[in-house]
Amino acid sequence: MKILLGFKASPDLSMMAEKDWQADDSLHIDVSFTQTMLNCFDESAAELMLMVRDRAVWQEGELNLSALTIGESRSEHYLKQIYALGFQSAIRIDPTASIDLRFNPLAIAKVMQAYHQQIEQQSLIVLGMQSSEGHNMQTAMLLAELLNWPCITQVCDFRVIRESKQVIVIRQTEDEQQTLTINTPAVLAVGNSTQASALRVPTLKQKLAGAKNSIHRYSLDDLGLAPQELQQKNDKQLTKLTRQQNRRAGVIITGGTPQEKARRLYHDYLQGRLG
């Protein structure tokens, strides 16, 4: 069974100062100086895949975990980490700089579809439900539509039944918890998962072993994709980007002790509103 993780190395937006929130003439925000991070949903998705591996004794070649990212070379740091954690292959697809992928989940989904169809077919494709730049939340669903596969969203846990190759997926919606036993292929979009809230950290020994593996790199051309195929009429066009702030008065209450400050807070603001 082949399971592919699709992830994105996101900029750590908490490192941005007020002056950094300036869009340039082409409506880009410079985030190149920030550190990158795996967003929380991608981390849970990767960890859930490792938990699938750990839950059963798999024969050689029976379970194959791989991870794919579309983006610049600095995301390779995470592909090395993925190798250290025991994934069998790590792939980076280099998009041409001329295409703005930030708000076009359909283009991202097409690249992943092309990887699946041209390079290596998968049984299960697992993605995080959302990332921090575009807030699109649509990549997994669009990939499922392109492949004509089912899409299970809001996944908080999943496991593979080794004998039947079926997948038990637990999804948590706003109103209920659903436990679905499904046949593959399928796309899973991982949401809030307390079972796998963080991705484990590889040991030094694992890192050294992982470093021997090489990252597979593909261009759009290698996948048989022309840039114009990724800019279709159905895609979204960014026309404006403005700073959004939510400032309030921020009056600071002073006092000699916490008790004194709490009393002032209570009498000046909260009396009649609490208790």
């Binding site: 925000i29 109103d175 679905l180 036993t181 307390t194 209450i253 008790q259």
Partner: protein, 324 residues
């Protein structure tokens, strides 16, 4: 232009979801000629239907399956769209609404966008506004293909008021879709109690500054003493110091209480979106540079536990004296 509003009438938050659509309608410029309401329901139709900020011209009732999965209701929506070809389809911002908007647009060769705050239709297509970059920026996006399927932003709204739609044309569509072959088995468990956080008038929101699980338990007691519901930031929920149903923010609950006291919260934009519609926001943090202070009406720079314990004492003293 024809608009369709699509909602799950069985959802416990049906009226809140309707109010979120209302907020979108209030903030948008849409020249609607007709507005249809497409409502999913399972057994009985609800007594009260939400009032909208635009006159509803017809209602279609769509029978939903026992297992509410997008795959099972999409064919039904495709069918209804054939009968009533709306140019703009508005969905709620819940997980089902997001999925239906995205996948229906794909199937109808239209365009979709989720988390939209406002929109306008003109000769260039549909322009929408939504929060991006961890809620730090507002993007204006143009969608050119039709139909346009939009899921509105979650806002933590109160419930929409209800009205009588007796005089309006109503149609019942009973088609049921067969279970898909990929689904072998399913089980549903519904929580016994809906989370109280969404409707709370007072919220004590705590962040990583709480330190550990034991202190979070203590803070829950403090919340009760203040007559408030406990809400937590993502790291607190992910450390399992508090249940997932208490999580606030972009991927958790969005609240709009009378008073929200944040304690030990740094004020990351993904968290703040969960409390920004609160009437009064109080921030307590030891770090004077924490972003939360500029998002609060009033702040105290000090140890959260000491301040909160003292606040409980103030409330208790007032209660003894009988002062409201």
């Amino acid at each position: 232009m024809k608009i369709a509003l699509i909602l799950d009438a069985d959802s416990p938050s049906f009226l809140q979801q309707a109010q979120e659509i209302n907020r979108f309608l209030q903030q948008s410029h849409l020249a609607a000629s007709e507005v249809a309401l497409w409502l999913f329901h399972r057994n009985s139709q609800p007594d009260g239907l939400p009032q909208f900020d635009c006159p509803i011209t017809q209602i279609q009732w769509l029978k939903s399956p026992e297992l509410l999965l997008a795959d099972l209701v999409l064919p039904l929506l495709e069918r209804v769209h054939q009968i009533y070809p709306a140019e703009l389809l508005l969905f709620s911002g819940c997980s089902l609404g997001n999925e239906l908007a995205t996948r229906l647009a794909f199937r109808l060769n239209g365009a979709s966008c989720l988390g939209v705050i406002s929109g306008q239709m003109n000769e260039n297509g549909c322009q929408v506004e939504k929060s991006v970059y961890g809620n730090n920026m507002l993007a204006t996006l143009t969608l050119q293909a039709t139909p346009c399927c939009l899921a509105v932003a979650r806002q933590g709204s109160a419930a929409a008021s209800t009205r009588d739609y007796q005089s309006i044309e109503q149609q019942l569509i009973l088609t049921e879709v067969e279970a898909p072959t990929w689904l072998a088995e399913h089980q549903i468990s519904i929580p016994e109690q809906q989370p109280l956080l969404n409707r709370a008038e007072r919220v004590l929101a705590i962040g990583q500054g709480a330190g550990n699980s034991q202190n979070v338990q203590r803070l829950n007691e403090i919340a009760q003493a203040l007559g408030a519901q406990l809400g937590v930031s993502r790291p607190v929920a992910m450390n399992a110091w508090s249940s997932m149903s208490t999580m606030l923010g972009m991927s958790g609950a969005l609240v709009a209480p009378e008073v929200c006291i944040t304690a030990g919260v740094s004020g990351a934009a993904a968290f703040s979106v969960g409390i920004r519609h609160s009437k009064l926001i109080v921030a307590i943090n030891t770090d004077p540079d924490a972003a939360i202070f500029s998002q609060a009406d009033v702040g105290i720079i000090d140890d959260m536990n000491a301040v909160l314990e003292a606040l409980v004492a103030c409330v208790q003293q007032s209660n003894i004296r009988g002062v409201p």
